[in-house]
Amino acid sequence: MFDSLISPKSVAVIGASHNPSKIGYVVLKNLATHGYRGEVYPVNPKGGEILGYRVYRDIGEIPPVDLSIITLPAELTVRVFEDVARKSKFIIPIAGGFGETGPEGKELENKILEIANRHGARVIGPNTVGIYIPRSGVNTALIVPERSRFPGDGKIAFITQSGALGLLTMDSFAMYGVGFSAFINLGNRVDVNENELLRYFGDDDHTQVVILYIESFKDGREFMRIAKEVSVRKPIVVLKAGRTARGGKAASLHTGALGGSDAVADGAFKQCGVIRAYDEVELVDYARALAYGKPFSGNRVAVVTSAGGVGVVTTDYIESDSRGVGLKMAELDEETKRIIREEVVPFASVENPVDMTAQASDDDYDGVLEALNDDPNVDAILVYALFQTPLISERLVDIIEKWHHRGKKPIVVGTIGSEFSMKMLGEFEKRGIPAYPSIERAVKALRVLHDRAHILGRLIE
């Protein structure tokens, strides 16, 4: 049902502008630069031409379209809305000045909803940065391209109540090439809500993980129903904000004072298989782990490193309950130790973490990963690809890729360092290997894969 929104055959820009600093220009520019291949109909009473697109003077002149983006201020948006609704399947009114400003704005909002309902058009927003769909090149977001980056196509669908936080998150992950299948900012959520979109992306072949930034649910029970269905097939990660707000409704009761609505949300997530993130980094990190990695239900982790300290800190993070994830370091099988000691790296420490020291080469990694893959005492492998030592090369990415795809065991990669390491992180990302630029982030990604296995166990049971 949202196909016409995600991959529209035609887009109208109502309020198209000749002024490059105006959103009415930026949206057209986005469509041009992101390779949108459908029909584009800019509308502005002045007419003329913008970026090579013919500008229509009146909405009446354009044929029916899949998507209309209204880049006018609130008052004008309301004024043209009837004409737009008559022509459009989906409408994105970008402007603020609606329900978020008070009762008068709320009235405007109700008015556009009423008009849309009458014409059978669906509304995203208002008060939204809109949508960004890398695959179809639809992009309604206003950001300065010289200072930020839009991510490419990927497997993660991102539904967010905050447009700005969503864009910032994508910008920061675009740095190492993380892609998204879709980005949708709900804005004031007058019509289209997170539940419908969650269901849609649950069935969307391009999406492997759905992530949400939510401040308040439209309908919590409905969310749980849909999330329970979807999370059997696809992982869902939610960053739920407003953790500290207290719902003091039943304050005369102990139970009311003990649980704000956040504690209830936490329980609800557990019941419907939703994985919870606490900031924007976790949100996307977990999504990447779940999109690329294999869930594992055991708790024994083998760690491979060429830097001893990295192994020690990792061990703490893996085993600790308080500042860690409460998994276990695997007790390696004697045969594994023998192979590593005798056949692969005689200089290495063959306990877990396997510390191959700075003398390690790409091929040493290959041998160790093979041995760990065969070890019956190991449920998952965390391997550090540290490119700062002389015998390690870019070929290590190929070797890890081989074991990630061919091996039975889930692999998570840690890569610590500056530009070159970041470049390699992008390389892992490109090949669909979950890789992280810090110890803590790598270990938490492992835990999420472990959690996912248990969620599946509970949901399918």
Binding site: G220, L253, G256, G259, V264, G267, K270, Q271
Partner: protein
């Protein structure tokens, strides 16, 4: 609903409560057939913290003491008095219900006493819950070791799971319940017994 009504109501769902009677006059105490020691409690919907205001007398071991307790409580509050057998157990837990704006009815479980007061060591699930949800609730609690035989404490986990499932059912059947506090619930070797219960119903006319 006063405490006695709330407990009788829960008892109709097979939830364990102490044996007890409501006494309105001193004379009725002669017919009281409870095993000592017993406890006397003021029976009132208005008084929320009974023991803070002297509305609870514990460890009554004879008819004579029972009469004194009645006179004391009845004289002070002019209400009936609930007499119950005292239950000794291993550890106290708290079970509650709230109606959340977003998710609707939710069930809470936690360890009693300082664990809830200071550490807020409680967990919630949205009602209705399944058996595995009830089990997961016990697992959620940071102090769960206490329920696993810590320092010789012996309780029956299944009785907790059973109580949580029953409360979920109570609320499912009675959606006009907007709040519930079972505090404390005492866990014995084999059972979970509700020692105090408050149930708040939606006022008719509200929605």
């Amino acid at each position: 609903m006063n405490e006695y009504e709330a407990k009788k109501f829960l008892s109709s769902y097979g939830i364990s409560i102490p044996r007890g009677y409501v006494i309105s006059s001193e004379g009725e105490i002669d017919k009281l057939s409870l095993n000592y020691p017993i406890v006397a409690k003021v029976l009132s919907e208005e008084i929320l913290h009974k023991s803070d205001v002297g509305g609870v007398i514990l460890n009554i071991t004879s008819k004579r003491e029972a009469k004194e307790a009645f006179k004391k409580i009845h004289g002070k509050f002019h209400t009936p008095v609930l007499f119950e057998e005292m239950v000794r157990g291993e550890v106290e837990v708290i079970v509650g219900v709230i109606k959340d704006q977003t998710f609707g009815h939710a069930l809470m479980f936690g360890l009693g006493g300082i664990f809830t007061e200071i550490y807020r060591d409680v967990t919630f699930r949205v009602i209705p819950i399944a058996k595995k949800d009830a089990e997961a609730m016990i697992e959620d609690i940071r102090g769960k070791k206490i329920l696993e035989g810590y320092r010789g404490i012996k309780v029956n986990r299944e009785s907790v799971v059973d109580l949580l499932l029953k409360i979920s059912k109570v609320v499912e059947d009675n959606p006009n319940i907007i709040g519930m506090d079972l505090n404390p619930v005492i866990l014995t070797h084999d059972d979970a017994i509700v020692l105090d219960a408050k149930i708040i119903l939606e006022k008719s006319g509200e929605s």
